[in-house]
Symmetry: D2
Subunit: 246 residues, 4 copies
């Protein structure tokens, strides 16, 4: 990582092209809003926006091979991502690519297949207040934050969130309407890392919020490829002398 | 569970019908060898053997509905289990059914889709010694055991085992040839529980070993349905008064 | 455990003897209120109340030797428990005794020394509403519950709760005043198990609430001694032939 | 951390001053052997060796205040570290200082009080072979390694190692004599991080091994202060309007 991370912001890019409300908030598209912030941060070598409407759904072998960490936002077109492409992204994660899944990305093919569960949840869209509490204050994803931060108007996501127990739980959200949610969750998968981060919605300017963007950036840094580069599988010879009846 | 657990021992049942070596060890079939032990244990109401060759691959809705915990052994015919049946079993786990995956079941469709990873590993078949150490001595799956137990002749499985970090790691295996393996692994998935237990092989009498059978039984008890019976999902009303701009 | 669990409800027993408000709610003492419920549940062989004011602070070797699971409530007299007695209780947990720590017991010597952290938190006493959400619906401690339950008037505890990451997190509390809290936390320690459960306060009738009592009972069942009975430590002989330069 | 980490290598420094065998291997002292390697690595601003025989046992407020990550090696003089000094180090960890505990440091006052368990284990000193397998290949502490590495002659440590379940388990050791050991274990504690790494012995040149030193370095990087800088505790005001009967 000496020269910094190569980030791909994968953005479904459907709402931002046809819904007036979304276009007002993100005239440049939601992907570019996120990418613009990231491009200015230290340790980031390059940021690319890739979309469902791009060639190869923005998930070509070339793009995947040159991505250290991918962020994923999708909502209304999860089913349009081909099974083959979803499988390729998952495979890249198992081989070491970091993945930061945002908000409604919880229902994407990629996230569900990496989790092994239904990934369902409760939701409500009345613009209520959310307060995200840091419950793992030693975690690098909490770097630079205060012990909580608020989003004044959000779509609510509530428990039970059908995910495996996170390896590390960084944030728990409090919602004005009475629910809680595990909003920042970390897992290792094969050689790769996955961070799920709840905030974000197409009709609210969540990705204009500096703290939200900071957490996404922290998540990218945490999810950066590290650890082993490759592993041996299959039938192997003994490492010690064994004299058996095999 | 007042009247005991209803257990289904799902057995691929291919080797035991055609390979002389396997038939010599398990003339009644591997499934019946396991089921015979279980049927005599306290807290077990009924034990059924179901096989790939049965009607509906032994995975009919009727069987699944009447199973509290299922054990799973497969090896050479993982691909013959239909995607639909694998999905049904997974769904039943998410709804509360316990699942105890044995040995080569690590590569079954059901286990891989519940884990979200490749589930690959190293292996070697020379009949070497395995010693399983208890590393979570407070765990109910270790009930009645000593701090380690040995299997004199086994197929080796070695790390890296491509699974998510277990919620609880009960056993670590030592192999004569120089490898280690996370041999007893627990996860919660939705309303259900999954226990992976390594020992077992078609050409070695592993399921004649009392300690191995005891661990399978302990795993079934641990994986028994408990906790919630159902969950609410989807769009919900606020539980508190919220006066917002929704 | 064939004949059921022997439970000791350890109760500080100071407030209940001198504070009018507490005496009004628990005229029989808080310990007896809890013990009375437990004594009628299946699988419980005996329930004893032990208090700080008893001989040996209610923590004699005889009591400890005959206790399978201990519940612990303390608040204003944590420091009066002798270091020696706290160390004895901790040692019994490491040897297999279950421990269910209630509410303000988070600051007891026993709990702090088993956790290895400060165990501090935020608090507020205005009688606000608490809603406890089940976030691990497969967990046996959630048996018989709905997906959440409410306490209309509680003392608030808020994050950050300075504990090690729980091995299993069962409940997260929502508080009317804006906080969240990890309210049901499980850990293994040596041969023993520890469950921390937040609800409870001396001036509110929390231990008259059936769901709260049910969770305490579930916690006791979960924390029951299981797993190994003993372990070998110290200098050991090789289990395999080793021909080295030792 | 822009300018790099300030590391203190705390070394008991008793064996290295009086035992001929140890002096032959580490004529400069074991602390300096480790420090010399670290001082040349990227991202390290400064490395200091502190010893039990130093003023204030090498644990003065000044040293602690200027230490981002401390490594700890002790063996025969654990009891000589004062309770007050052990408590100060623990407190610094809870406030954010990283701690990398080496080998026989498992029995230090600091480690035991941070773990909350007995930290006992099996051991044997015949110079047998150890092979450390990476079981969490995505972990930054495995950066730059192969899937296993070997130490030809080591003191054996065997399970059960009486520690809390690690938040992340990076290495499992295989020993020639038949044991296994959780050799690389990570925990968060308060605002700080703790890494336990098994290899190392006073009479074997373990800290001359490049891979061992690399892992210590990786552990220091992982344990570097990150996350929150401070937390609020105690009695707090509501963040939301609450109208209750307090």
């Amino acid at each position: 990582m000496k020269d910094g991370l190569r980030v791909t912001v994968w953005n479904e890019g459907v709402h931002d092209k046809r819904d007036r409300k979304v276009m007002d908030i993100y005239p440049e598209g939601m992907g570019k809003a996120i990418a613009g912030y990231l491009a200015e941060q230290p340790g980031i070598a390059s940021v690319r926006v890739a979309e469902l409407g791009d060639k190869g759904q923005g998930l070509t072998d070339t793009i995947l091979a040159k991505t250290d960490v991918m962020t994923w936002w999708g909502h209304c077109a999860h089913d349009q991502v081909t099974d083959e492409n979803a499988a390729k992204v998952k495979q890249r994660v198992l081989e070491g690519m970091g993945l930061v899944v945002l908000h409604s990305g919880h229902f994407s093919k990629v996230f569900k297949s990496l989790m092994g569960t239904g990934c369902d949840l409760k939701w409500r869209e009345i613009g209520e207040k959310e307060r995200l509490w840091v419950v793992d204050p030693a975690h690098p994803i909490a770097e630079g934050l205060s012990e909580y931060f608020e989003l004044p108007h959000t779509e609510m996501y509530g428990e039970h969130f059908d995910i495996p127990q996170p390896d590390q739980l960084v944030f728990i959200s409090w919602f004005e309407g009475g629910e809680v949610f595990r909003s920042g969750c970390c897992w290792h998968r094969g050689l790769g890392k996955v961070f799920y981060f709840r905030p974000g919605h197409e009709t609210l300017p969540i990705y204009r919020n500096e703290t939200v963007l900071r957490v996404i950036y922290n998540g990218i840094r945490w999810a950066a490829p590290s650890g082993l580069k490759k592993l041996v599988r299959g039938n192997v010879q003994p490492l010690e002398n064994v004299n058996r009846n095999g």
